[in-house]
Amino acid sequence: MNAPYEAGPHEGSAPYYARRGGLPGILGWVTSTDHKRIAILYLTVILAFFFAAVVLGILMRIELQSPGPTIMQPQVYNQLFTLHGIIQIFLVVIPGVPTILGNFFIPILIGSQDVAFPRLNLTTWYLFLAGAALAFVSVFTGKGPADTGWTFYVPFSLRTVVNVPLATFAVFVLGMSSILTGINIVTTVHQLRAPGMGFFRLPLSVWGFYSTAWVQILATPIIGITMVLIIMERLFGIGVFDPAKGGDPLLYQHLFWIYSHPAVYIMILPAMGVISDLFPVFSRKNIFGYKMVAFSSLAIASVGSLVWGHHMFVSGQSDLAGIIFSLLTFLVAIPSAIKVFNWVSTMYKGSISIEPPFLYALSFVFLFAIGGLTGLFLGALSTDVQVHDTYFVVGHFHYIIFGGMGFGFFAALHYWFPKMTGRMYNKRFAVVAWLILFAGFNLFYFPMLILGWQGMPRRYFDFLPRFASLQFFTSIGAYIMVTGLALMFFNLWRGLRRGPKAPDNPWGGATLEWQIPSPAPAENFERIPTITQGPYHFDKTEKK
């Protein structure tokens, strides 16, 4: 940014989390329209859901540690993986980065005091809670939670006696929350940029959030109507997906994936955006190819919305559709590859500092690359026939979603922690936790790629003896990974409570959030700054 905007103490410069008139205690938080407080509201509930889903995952891994029933019966297993999927996808990964990091930082990064619609912002949090509550109710009432997989495929979802309508309605409500967040972000980026902040001076993280927001707006309504149709089918027997009435189950899959594929780009684009901010900072060098990275976000968002049929290669769709979707799937790999190339090129001849956020960023690239490459196997029609609905897919998407979005999120947490809390965590501990997490992650998910290739189907409660040793090994990897995860969160928690006060700009970043105090003050800027250069110029800034 321009010669540093010096914030300094000013009225409204008390930290955003300090008491400031209005309602006391927690009431002051749940009625706040301050984007930073709303971000923390989202953070607390999303982390809670994440931990719950991890517990479900561990239960599954204990069950799968050995053949035959270990700690549960098949029906319970089906419900566990359904719930694990619903929580992770709809309650954690889709909302995660936009509502937590986007909410907290977009206004600051663009030089604004808040988002375009602060009250709408708070409303999205309440909608989010409502959706979560509905999902919760679906688990503990009636005939129990859905056992259909998070994908709710017909005809099973129309016939199974469990709480499918409640679960699908929960997804509908969560979709509403996502749509409104997307509308808020697009409007904010268009209307509230500081003077001089043209689109091509925006930090790339904002480009990530912006592209994502468009997908949220354009794709989410489709899952909305699809969930409504499931409910209508179950309640009224409309017939659109029922072959006995002329309906086509494959059309359900089309409608479902028209949203759910772009949804994974909602998951990954913001994380990639944040990573694009990190590489310049920790290489102390301008990003290589700013415009290409910016446009690649738009390209991934748009082309990525056209590939949904690759989930249905073996479902019975026409060969023509298969070929077209396969081609489009390969095309969307290109902008992703551009990003990877540009990140790595940013490091070349840079001044690298290996801090915890950067460790996560580097491992993000590695894990995302594996996830992406395995995606190519899935995107090719012939190989997909072999690996569809096997553990290969499970490995693939965990590498991409957890290794990608997850590690990107952890990178961002470690990066922005001092700005959000005003404190610093123990860096050495963070590195140790990272090491265990990273090692465990690969021990956990890499064998899945092998298992899948050898033919182990996914969503299966039991398996043949020849898969037993890899399954056991996988479970061990899971336990190691979760240990690393626990250590990482413990370290951050400890830093929050007792860490040393953090400087305003511990990493020497040049984007606007590092020019305001740590922790962020209640009022972002005493004066809206005027921007005169791009976001990654490091000559004049220094760590302080």
């Binding site: 375009a116 697009v186 409007t187 268009h190 209307q191 354009l218 489709i222 086509d248 494959l250 059309l251 089309h254 028209i258 919305s305 056209l306 949904w308 049929g309 019975g316 769709q317 026409s318 060969d319 023509l320 559709a321 077209i324 979707f325």
Partner: protein, 96 residues
């Protein structure tokens, strides 16, 4: 949306003209439906509906005088997106 929405030059007369046009087009589409033009019927019906919608968008919804680029592009982007969704799905349904 907040801000600089502008209130360009539409008055009651313009609105009434548009209204009359919409009613006329409605009459037209009903009439065309009773002619026997076979397969073209869908296309004609959709075309008339598109013209009617455009009139509503441009005049009643003021897009004709809208200055903000984002707003002017929002509906076209949406329609293109929907068209692509339907089109790609057709590549399956058409050839099965």
């Amino acid at each position: 949306m907040k801000g600089k929405a502008n209130h360009g030059g539409a008055g009651p007369r313009t609105y009434l003209l548009v209204w009359a046009g919409l009613l006329a087009l409605t009459a037209a589409t009903v009439t065309v439906a009773s002619l026997q033009i076979g397969r073209a019927a869908v296309g004609v019906a959709l075309a008339i509906a598109a013209v009617k919608s455009t009139l509503v968008l441009l005049y009643f919804m003021h897009l004709r005088w809208e200055k903000r680029l984002l707003i002017k592009l929002a509906i076209p982007i949406t329609l293109v997106t929907l068209a692509i969704f339907i089109g790609l799905t057709y590549t399956d349904v058409l050839r099965r």
